[in-house]
């Protein structure tokens, strides 16, 4: 059960049960929908931008604990950042959940809790869906993105 404890870290369960920044910004400057057809997770992301920086962000939809916590912690982590900065963070998260990153990397901050995902290859897409959706919002594409 120890690896289950690594995956379902207390912080992940906490964010899954009480997600931060849940809802929709209306009006917003950018938005996108993300969908994981494998498990039916659906995430919507809405953004407010000012001079290239995220001034506010919300997410909604329904997903598993990993997806919901990832979206919640992502929204906390990207406020005030530019797209280039966010790309760097996502790359670090992506490396972390695919077992290529360093869980001790101080740049990850709270996002380091997703380190346990690397032991569960079937769940990597759950953790990355919110980030892909955020990217799609930046691309200002309103076409739904898919993890497949």
């Amino acid at each position: 059960m120890s690896d289950l404890g690594d995956l379902y870290h207390d912080m992940i369960l906490g964010h899954a049960k009480a997600p931060r920044n849940f809802g929709k910004l209306d009006p917003c400057d950018a938005s996108a929908l993300g969908h994981n057809p494998l498990c039916g997770d659906r995430i919507g992301v809405t953004l407010l931008l000012s001079q290239g920086r995220v001034t506010d962000v919300r997410f909604d939809g329904s997903g598993c604990a990993i997806c919901t916590a990832s979206a919640s912690l992502m929204t906390e982590g990207v406020k005030g950042r530019t797209r280039a900065e966010i790309d760097t963070v996502f790359q670090r998260v992506h490396d972390l959940v695919t077992g290529k990153g360093d869980p001790e990397d101080p740049e990850l901050g709270k996002l380091a809790v997703f380190g346990g995902v690397s032991e569960f290859p079937m769940r990597v897409k759950c953790a990355t869906l919110p980030w892909h959706t955020l990217n799609a919002a930046f691309d200002n594409s309103n076409a739904p993105v898919s993890t497949e």
């Binding site: 995956l7 049960k17 498990c39």
Partner: protein, 423 residues
């Protein structure tokens, strides 16, 4: 030909061991393996079944002793391969009570069988304004081929609605049958909820309305005896891999006169009588629909699987699985915070459920770490999930090898999920 292939007995194993007995479980080599250091508890039979040793042996037997292309050579191996392949057709015909072996068309699986009917009979029978009637319980494989056909022909797809319990709304199917209904296609047993539909009555009603009927029997044939004469449908499809047979084996049964009236589907070798550059003529039924080299090892393995299942006895299988489903339903619905999805009066094999505050995907991951394989998701039946207002469910589905001990493990696993999530 070697008669050994169609012997359902695996060496040293009793073919007619009781469902759930240690002797029968011992025939499934995969049940000896560990998953995450735990004994495998396989409860995903509706997705695919594990294979008994005799079916695995049948594949090896083919490649070891008689592998050659069917219907081709004059050499002995090709003659033996043809005998095995055509022998399997007789086994399948007998298994589902078909009048003639020629009514059995071998396909990759139910999906291919439905597409074949849609693209041959459907294309010739459907005109603008005609209708195809399906139900709200269908797997995507019995929705999308008809959607594609209707879009192409300017026809309309009608859907019989379902209740909150996951049953067809009483009277709705009959009410939706109209003079323009050319085809009615429906599942015998819902793969997502386990609902057993009143298919014989549905076939009678469709026939009265002049519609051609196709029954998706994927989730029926592994669980109880099926007879196409009693059912009185026009087509019936199922996949081998869901009834202990190899992947790549599947069956489309159709009435001979109907099959003969249909144009061929895929063109190629074996489906022709003669070929010139000016034109070709078609082989007779069923070969007209079997273009290219078929998966004859899988087909031979399917014949072995069907004989093995019949030796166990489908009535015993049905009774065993009904007892497991009743026990699991009672014990799991008694757990606070767990809700059974699909509460039809008649169900087979399948138990879909949700746990308050826990996504089914998380249930699937946690149970997997305990060695328990279930399905979590929409079960390729998104409209069923949409109708019930769910993104997904967790689904346990029972087969011949399952036991009460598997239910013990499932119940313990669910309690552990709740504990981990503080649900």
């Amino acid at each position: 030909m070697s008669a050994a292939l169609f012997s359902p007995a695996a060496p040293g194993a009793s073919p007619s061991a009781s469902p759930g007995s240690p002797e029968l479980r011992a025939q499934f080599p995969i049940l000896a393996r560990k998953v995450h250091k735990q004994p495998l508890i396989y409860l995903d039979n509706a997705a695919t079944t594990q294979k008994p040793q005799c079916v695995i042996d049948a594949l090896t037997h083919c490649y070891t002793h008689w592998n050659a292309n069917v219907h081709r050579g004059v050499h002995l191996l090709s003659q033996e391969a043809t005998e095995h392949y055509e022998g399997a057709r007789k086994v399948v015909a007998q298994f589902i009570g078909a009048a003639l072996p020629e009514e059995i068309v071998f396909v990759r699986g139910a999906t291919e069988g439905i597409n074949l009917v849609a693209q041959t009979l459907g294309r010739t029978q459907l005109s603008k304004g005609d209708e195809v009637l399906i139900t709200g319980l269908e797997h995507h494989s019995n929705i999308v081929p008809w959607q594609m056909l209707c879009a192409e022909r300017g026809a309309t797809l009608r859907v019989c609605p379902i209740t909150d319990a996951g049953e067809l709304v009483p009277g709705a199917f009959d009410a939706l049958l109209a003079s323009r209904t050319k085809i009615a296609a429906f599942s015998w047993v819902s793969n997502a909820l386990g609902t057993v539909n009143p298919v014989a009555a549905m076939c009678r009603a469709a026939k009265r309305a002049g519609a051609i009927t196709l029954v998706d029997a994927c989730q029926a044939v592994p669980h109880f005896a099926v007879n196409v004469q009693e059912l009185d449908c026009d087509f019936l499809v199922f996949s081998g891999h869901k009834l202990y047979a190899p992947n790549g084996s599947g069956v489309l049964w159709g009435r001979k006169a109907l099959l003969e009236s249909m144009p061929p589907w895929q063109g190629g070798g074996d489906m022709i009588a003669s070929v010139t550059f000016e034109g070709s003529t078609w082989n007779h039924v069923p070969h007209k629909f079997e273009a290219g080299t078929p998966d004859y090892p899988a087909v031979a393995g399917m014949a072995t699987a069907l004989q093995w299942l019949q030796a166990i006895g489908l009535q015993r299988v049905q009774a065993h699985e009904a007892a497991l489903l009743a026990e699991a339903t009672e014990r799991i619905s008694a757990i606070k915070g767990v809700r059974i999805i699909g509460t039809a009066a008649a169900k087979a094999s399948v138990l879909s459920f949700v746990i308050d505050g826990v996504h089914p995907h998380d249930i699937g991951t946690i149970l997997d770490r305990k060695g328990i394989a279930i399905r979590a998701g929409h079960h390729c039946a998104q409209p069923v999930m949409d109708r019930l207002g769910l993104a997904a469910t967790a689904r346990a589905s029972f087969g011949v090898s399952n036991t009460s001990a598997d239910i013990d493990a499932l119940v313990e696993g669910i309690v552990a999920v709740q504990k981990l999530f503080g649900a």
